[in-house]
Symmetry: D2
Subunit: 145 residues, 4 copies
């Protein structure tokens, strides 16, 4: 419990419908891949998103940012490495590397920040109100994936 | 009230992010345009979708179908003509023509069918339970747009 | 070569961003899942889509249709069974069953039809012009998955 | 020609399919709205994106960033104010304010940066190679919209 969990990166392949007429994946889809990555990370950490929602907790995106380096093409496989850099019980911040396994290039570096809210979008302090959520996030801070 | 409303087609322009690497609008987006068209039609008919939802009524898609004839390119303007062909208070069916004003070609003919449900996804008979919804849909049947 | 290949269904999990405010996966995304399924099927059959494109052949969607039976929720896993029902070298038709493994229900039955075109969107007769493509599709007709 | 053009903000309404199960517009769609806004701005400035592409010039996104302040709901109308803050002939940067006209709140502040490339994704110096593009962008720098 007190130990850091073993976490692996998220892997997925670029879909045809994710490309645009430039012939590469549209940049907005990277933002969606980050969401897939967070949800996969939470699954691995033992806190499936659906369970957290069933507890009445959501984690809306407060900010999102991407630096696009090399395009991803249809059919390319990307490996996304998330990294929780900040967490204080009320908010957290993630950094991500999107590595294109097909081209061998770093495709993008991104980050998102989030807060914890209830179903009425009111801020939550997880340490006091949801200690089990607090503990899981706290165990994942700065775990290299 | 008893009169058919005057309705106009829905017009919109194809976005860059709606294209795929084939260089034309991805076929899945047509299905989304039909939704925009229905919502515009309901606005025109005096029943904004948000108001209907506030009354506790939703109209999920039971079936959707498209015949794709000529591709739509980025920047093309399409005019979508909806036509309510069936309505019995519990279900309705729409046919659509997607006309590409830029190319002058008929891009697609489509149809969708829907049922009325409450927030628990239980079927609703609008004639008895929501006569104002019933009347508005009933006035729109077979109105040529 | 003359033998039917062994093919397995396509499995994937519903993403958060694929839901809408009704709380379930938006119906337009099923159309995208069918594309993922076709591309997976072609990979399995030994004809990756990117290779076919590199040969100058594309398979645009001529029609698409879905009957929606039970909603898919965020996090649900679906198993999609494609089935090539028609193929004549110029066109083909697929039927699909989307089975929700999480709920145990049949979520949708769908179909798409396609033609073979070159990069200028001109129709292609694969039997004559691309016999290797013809053979692969021909081996997959009516293979139960 | 030497005069700054008169530019107006971009206005659009949030679509149903842009919402997610949180009941508000999914954050990834804001990135797509920025693209719509850029393309509208270029239209207004006299350089339609399709014309620029026909000249062999593309402007891929190098970075994109959003700070989300208040959610946008289905049916809300947003007014997006773009502002070109930097341009040197090779690259440019835009800032955006997304104002929710329905709620009266500032929904998000965003920025994107772009480079000019040819169809082989090689960097272009517009001042030398495409002076008409250079002039149009140069006239738009720091024009308040």
């Amino acid at each position: 419990m007190a130990q850091n969990p073993v976490l692996v990166p998220y892997i997925r392949t670029a879909h045809y419908y994710e490309t645009d007429k430039m012939g590469v994946v549209h940049h907005s889809n990277y933002i969606r891949w980050l969401e897939e990555t967070r949800i996969d990370l939470m699954n691995q950490a033992g806190l499936p998103y659906t369970e957290m929602e069933a507890m009445g907790v959501m984690i809306p995106v407060v900010s999102a940012s991407c630096n696009y380096k090399y395009p991803v093409k249809f059919g390319d496989t990307v490996e996304i490495h998330p990294y929780i850099t900040e967490f204080n019980g009320c908010r957290f911040r993630l950094e991500y590397e999107i590595r294109n396994l097909t081209s061998g290039k770093l495709s993008a570096t991104c980050n998102t920040s989030h807060c914890f809210v209830n179903m009425q979008f009111k801020p939550i302090r997880t340490q006091k109100e949801f200690p089990q959520i607090y503990e899981i996030f706290n165990n994942c801070i700065k775990v290299k994936i």
